[in-house]
Subunit: 430 residues, 2 copies
Amino acid sequence: MVELKRDELHASVCDPVSASMNFLNEVASRYPDAIPLAAGRPYDGFYEAEDVHRYLDAYLSYLRSQGLGPDEVRRQLLQYGRTNGQIHPLIARWLERDEGIRVPPAAIAVTAGCQEAMVIALRGLCAGPRDVLLAGEPCYVGITGAARILDIEVVPVPETAHGVDPAAVAVVARQVRASGRRPRALYVVPDFANPSGACLDVPARMALLDVAEQEDLLILEDDPYGLFGVDDRPRPRLKSLDTRQRVIYLGSFAKSVFPGARVGFLVADQTVVDQAGRRTLLADELSNVKSMLTVNTAPIAQAVVGGVLVEADCSLRAANREKIAFYRRNLALLLDALERAFPPSTRDSAGIRWNAPAGGFFVVMDVPFLADEALLERSAREFGVLWTPMSFFYAGGGGERALRLSHSCLEPEQVEEGVRRLARLVAALA
Amino acid sequence: MVELKRDELHASVCDPVSASMNFLNEVASRYPDAIPLAAGRPYDGFYEAEDVHRYLDAYLSYLRSQGLGPDEVRRQLLQYGRTNGQIHPLIARWLERDEGIRVPPAAIAVTAGCQEAMVIALRGLCAGPRDVLLAGEPCYVGITGAARILDIEVVPVPETAHGVDPAAVAVVARQVRASGRRPRALYVVPDFANPSGACLDVPARMALLDVAEQEDLLILEDDPYGLFGVDDRPRPRLKSLDTRQRVIYLGSFAKSVFPGARVGFLVADQTVVDQAGRRTLLADELSNVKSMLTVNTAPIAQAVVGGVLVEADCSLRAANREKIAFYRRNLALLLDALERAFPPSTRDSAGIRWNAPAGGFFVVMDVPFLADEALLERSAREFGVLWTPMSFFYAGGGGERALRLSHSCLEPEQVEEGVRRLARLVAALA
């Protein structure tokens, strides 16, 4: 009977981040009554399983209204499809309508969730060991994971309270280049990042685009939370400001539609030129990578998301009004509950503080003790509350005394009860 | 405006196989009236778009029958799901019932099509540049593509008319090892391979398993066509004979259900042992790779396939009776049409011959002229028939004077007309 040695498998199998996330899930499953301030998934209550039928039908009607006959409609849903997807024209209309991003539909590739979009973009851009990715730190584990399966080095750029600092990006890019490597792209979540909650202001966005131009970087702009700001202030996407085509935009429907479709996309409207001077679109070039990863994105899943877009006349902002209000309220409740549980008189001397993000699913709390896996287990067992150690989001150490708190999948009363339980944990450690 | 240099992108972007396939698709789209003896996709006529609703409902009913309440049913369909999928127990029942493969459901990982299963298996097994994949040649382009995006070397094992020769596998494995590299796995399609149509006999299957044991190889058994034999003779899957757990089975629902779900799977019941002696299941270890590629397979797409399995009481052989008969008839028609178009009296002297596969979608025809892209274009333009140059399936040269012919997506009368047109092309070149 064959026995495979674990240390002879690829490093991605033994990824420490995956191990941490598995630990988190395992603790969550052992303590099902613990309130999951750890979980960043969207709230369950916005959809019914039966809605899927309606979305499918809406999409099929849309295809018919475009002049497709029954055979072609069937083929669109059930046959292999175009590598870069089928609902790209609907996505293009939504991006223009809601986000001010004007790109030709051909520059959009529909992917098996945003995770695949990251893998495709990284694979296409990073040709060898010299090509590295810069990423603000603390960093979303999806992008470090994608880099790991492709053996691509990620060089962290320490974030400030206001997100990644453009000047710091330039410094790191120059250091990387001086070491003989090539900084190929910067990964950034400008709006309400996971895990930091940070949001770049408009001058920082403009500066980041300038740095990308000066340092010859592309920017991978990941935008899963941009819809969920605490107010209606416009926060322009980097891609909508991107007159020099430095930005590859990565999109997700997991929060704005639902995770069960696993549909995401990338926008890559850059020009590629070969040695003979022929010009192509980066999205078309990346379709070769897509075809080798997953061939094409499940047409059935695309149809469901397409149906949502059709029903919403391609405005997800309008279609998500209820969700936007829900997450706003939950975030406000979380911040308010923290304020009550840790009043200023006590928290400052105790070394407790947290940020107040302008949107998104996450708040980061600094604590005066080691917030490690052992404490998480104790927190679940003795205090009935789960959180995520911030150290999970640092590759080379950091975040040891901080927690990520999330409100996104909770009922409002659970948010408040979760914070009360957290306060008990903190008191017990004082 | 940024311009990216094509030769600074990853090699997978500029993959010659993709370029060839793109050329084929491009010719097909320019000559829509040409009969596509080139296309290996399944026939469109077996399903209606409306069936999707019924399958979804069948799966939701099944979940309810398993005791899941409405909230949990909704979560299964619309929320993030288990990394290795949700319909693995149904797949395990089908594999046991139809294929004699007995594995615990936990050893099955549901993937975004079989293509992702290949990427996951290769990524997990090949840890560095020393680890290479062996593959019978001519070779399916999906596996060479998967290896290319991961920078994994593929070493060809020349096939005979009876498929890959176990003794040749052993020879190549030893050569690879002698050169300081490690032959980690062999990719093989034992039943009606794409493109060769070859099928391994049972002694060869047993011998291949012995070679895997002797040479410390794993076998990646890809089985997209096994259901479609010309007779009901049992052809045991390698995995069903695999008493030493040398086989990772790769499965597809593209032909047995439909391509539009993009659901595939892998079976990896091997034991993995770490330095502390802890034992885990390879499928569980590979779930880390899966989580970094696509997080999980679209639950909506899994639900549709799950519904097909539920309706069929987990026998796809029974559910596919109509399709099996259709492809049998089409293959017989193709062989018969070739026999009539190229009678023995003329074909032998002309250097024309073809194989007679015992099933599957493909026939290979040797011709006395260069069957290259230029000829394909001429064939489409002047003769109205498309085929695939066999050279597409050789990495380092080969197949220059051979065509792959497929019957799978055609109406029976198109098969016959396609061959008549092909005969006109051949006559014109004589």
